[in-house]
């Protein structure tokens, strides 16, 4: 049995959607057992079946808009997020899934789970959809706004293992997000890391990739510093949202337009589905001593279920051990 800790109280629609996501997960994944950390009375409201589900009472919640995440964790050691994280450190559980505040989860994971000694910086790695239906790993959407090139090499190794073991890509290709494709493009950081990637035999580096190929990239992993990747991720979201609004307002113009939109309704819905981050599953935080998966703050049951599925796969494939082996054998 793969034992997974659930932060039942974190998220915009917690605990309802989290609990429903857990029920979906138990139904669909045979080898998992879940421990939900949260308010038992609240959780029981939505828990129609507690097969392979345990509940541990928590006290206090980390606010979604938390301004000082480190203090929030320190002052809320009995919160659902803190208890769930601690249970991974103590090996009671092999993974944690949370849709709580991202910065609090990262800070909490550092304090309560601990960083792998082989990785100098943690990274958060969401998946972005591509036009052919596969997903690209985007690094780093986390907190390393200014980072050293050698730390990006460690993140690249991690992403390669993840891509292979969790996403099933045979020989994952890494691309450096840059403003031009030629070698030598970009800032000093980009030039330096380009050279490190090129010289590293264990990295399948294809060179610079421009963000105009963001939904149809020639690689499986896209890497940049935390500021840039975060900016790119939010630009994709903003463009998709803006285009969706424009499309809707244009499509319903005129009689034929309205009729056409009616007939296209099912296809338009499927289109929206394709771009839905809920379908993709959570983002793993790379570089920790345990498996920490962040689900979207706005997760509904499906999104949360997908994040649990991701966590189970990471544990089943023994991703952390494989990453450690590669990092230890890679002398920088």
């Amino acid at each position: 049995m793969i034992k997974i800790a659930i932060d039942a109280m974190g998220g915009d629609f917690a605990p309802e959607q989290q609990v429903k996501g857990c029920i979906l997960a138990i139904k669909n994944i045979a080898d998992i057992e879940l421990t939900l950390y949260g308010d038992e009375t609240e959780i029981r409201k939505y828990l129609t079946d507690d097969t392979r589900i345990n509940i541990v009472q928590s006290d206090g919640v980390i606010d979604m808009g938390e301004k000082d995440p480190i203090a929030a964790i320190r002052n809320n050691r009995k919160s659902s997020m803190a208890l769930a994280l601690s249970s991974v450190r103590s090996k009671e559980n092999s993974a944690i899934v949370s849709s709580g505040a991202t910065q609090a989860l990262i800070a909490g994971a550092h304090i309560l789970v601990g960083r792998l000694k082989q990785m100098k910086r943690t990274a958060i790695a969401p998946l972005i959809p591509t036009i052919n239906g596969s997903n690209t790993i985007l690094l780093d959407a986390g907190g390393n706004l200014e980072i050293k090139p050698e730390y990006m090499v460690q993140q690249a190794h991690f992403a390669q293992v993840y891509s292979k073991e969790v996403l099933g890509v045979k020989n994952p290709r890494l691309g450096l997000l840059n403003i031009g494709t030629e070698p030598g493009k970009g800032r000093q950081l980009d030039k330096d890391v380009f050279n490190l990637f090129t010289d590293n035999e264990k990295i399948n580096f294809i060179g610079n990739v421009e963000s105009k190929e963001i939904l149809d990239p020639p690689c499986d992993i896209l890497i940049s510093d935390g500021f840039t990747a975060n900016m790119v991720m939010k630009t994709i979201a903003g463009t998709a949202k803006g285009m969706g609004k424009m499309l809707k307002s244009e499509l319903k113009q005129g009689f034929f337009g309205k009729l056409g939109m009616l007939l296209s309704a099912r296809n338009l819905k499927r289109f929206k589905q394709k771009l839905n981050p809920e379908e993709i599953g959570g983002a793993m935080i790379y570089g920790l001593k345990g498996v920490v998966v962040k689900a979207q703050g706005s997760s509904t049951d499906i999104g949360f279920y997908n994040a649990i599925k991701t966590a189970a796969t990471i544990v089943r494939q023994d991703v952390l051990e494989k990453v450690k082996n590669i990092l230890e054998s890679d002398v920088l």
Copy 2:
């Protein structure tokens, strides 16, 4: 008469689309006179009417994929781009429009037109569409990958004048592209420039803006360093392109889907139009002693015409003088 120099040979479809764009401009803008620099024989093939149009023979073209733009300009002083730029320096013309290679145009403008002494770095400022139909100025999509905060203040002043005089915005609002809205977010550069903007009475600064609001921003100008803004611009393009492909393949599924798409054809076309950079007009290069407008490399006649219209407006509104006055009165 506003005299405008045209680089007739620069661009993916030059000189045909450039010449046709000039004809459109002459028809629609009464107070302009155009001088086309290029191969006269080639130009005459498409020039059905030469009212208010002059031709100056050039020799050599700056290649669109030019790797060393400075050398390209230095070694091609008789090229259409170089001759057109020089005619602005010598005041024969008040502006130049080119859809030639961006980096060559920026380098050529530095060498042949010269930088304003009040601005330490030039910037290229494209317009991006918003969902309500207006346009946002995005700074800097040019070459300043690593820039000092005080130079960004100069660019902000320029953008405010441009927004007011060329785009007709009464009291243009400036937003700093950042990964969060709270003050104190971002890299050291972002924190420093945030403070400079806040302290500057002549800048109508609204604070940090996240890129998830990129097509519906709460401001008229969005600013960041050249690396970030370039990345954001290309991410918008890549997402729009990818979404367009996904939409098309989803919409045509099934019988009702095909019928619906047929009925929606006109509206879908208008949707594409809205996102078409051709409709927006060129991007001015800020910080030069003359008016230099870059049209898209892939410009067709409409796109090139819109860039000429932009150049004429910049000259008519005396943008450069107004910028100089503000920069001189703003003691940093």
